[in-house]
Symmetry: C2
Subunit: 151 residues, 2 copies
């Protein structure tokens, strides 16, 4: 029965590994036509909704550590997709903003409606709802059980 419980856990773990993988693949396909990476595309999306945020806020929106966010921003600045300007009022903070090039890509991603993501719309509506509900539940269980970062 030890084996049994282990196998149950493994089943869930494997399922998650597999779906994460398949999903990651899809996101790459989606992004690569725009000549950008999935994470960077997500940054552009977040910046559309929350303009002028700093790196720490960005990291929180993306559920990333500071160092990871810093790296992404760095590459995007180098690629000319966003700008990073020191705040006048608090010189520890950087203000992030999209460049024209960044806005263009973000706009294109909207227009194409991300063709490669369309398979997702084949998921029956109830299943999609269920999925979001269960995911939310799990995230809650996981993030509260361990971690306990803020709030």
């Amino acid at each position: 029965m030890l084996e049994e419980k282990e196998q149950q856990l493994d089943e869930i773990v494997s399922s998650f590994r597999r779906i994460s993988h398949a999903f990651q693949q899809l996101l790459w396909k989606d992004a690569e036509e725009l000549e950008i990476t999935p994470t960077q595309l997500m940054v552009l999306r977040k910046l559309t909704v929350h303009p002028d945020i700093g790196i720490t806020e960005l990291a929180e929106l993306l559920h990333l550590g500071n160092s990871a966010a810093s790296g992404v921003v760095d590459r995007m600045v180098k690629a000319g997709l966003i700008t990073r300007q020191r705040s006048e009022s608090d010189r520890r903070i950087f203000h992030l903003a999209m460049t024209e090039k960044g806005k263009e890509i973000r706009e294109k991603s909207k227009q194409s409606l991300r063709r490669h993501l369309l398979p997702l719309t084949n998921i029956p509506a109830e299943d999609a709802g269920e999925l979001l509900r269960i995911h939310g539940e799990i995230v809650q269980i996981l993030e509260q059980g361990r971690g306990k970062k803020k709030l």
Copy 2:
């Protein structure tokens, strides 16, 4: 209505990003007490069930590319967890096997029943079932829609 559909997609994408992240965190917590990484632990598990496989087979079991599998194996050999021996019959192939140290860790992971994964058992049974079902459905949609590797 363009915006609307975009937002729907984003909701799913974000949910996946978030849950993948939370899950990844959990797997690390689970593995790190054994002084191993999640992927490497998974390799040990696979080797338990499928002994003496080669790198390509391992890559398939883990849903990885060859190069990624090659890298993991490399690090595990260096860490003394597994061995990599050329096959006599077909010298292109390596046979992978666990060392004593590898077996030990694998055994420990079974005994501890991966304490950190226990939060997962708080997921209601029906939800877990639903989750697996929907995940399976999605994987099928995603892998068949694009990719189409084998079968």
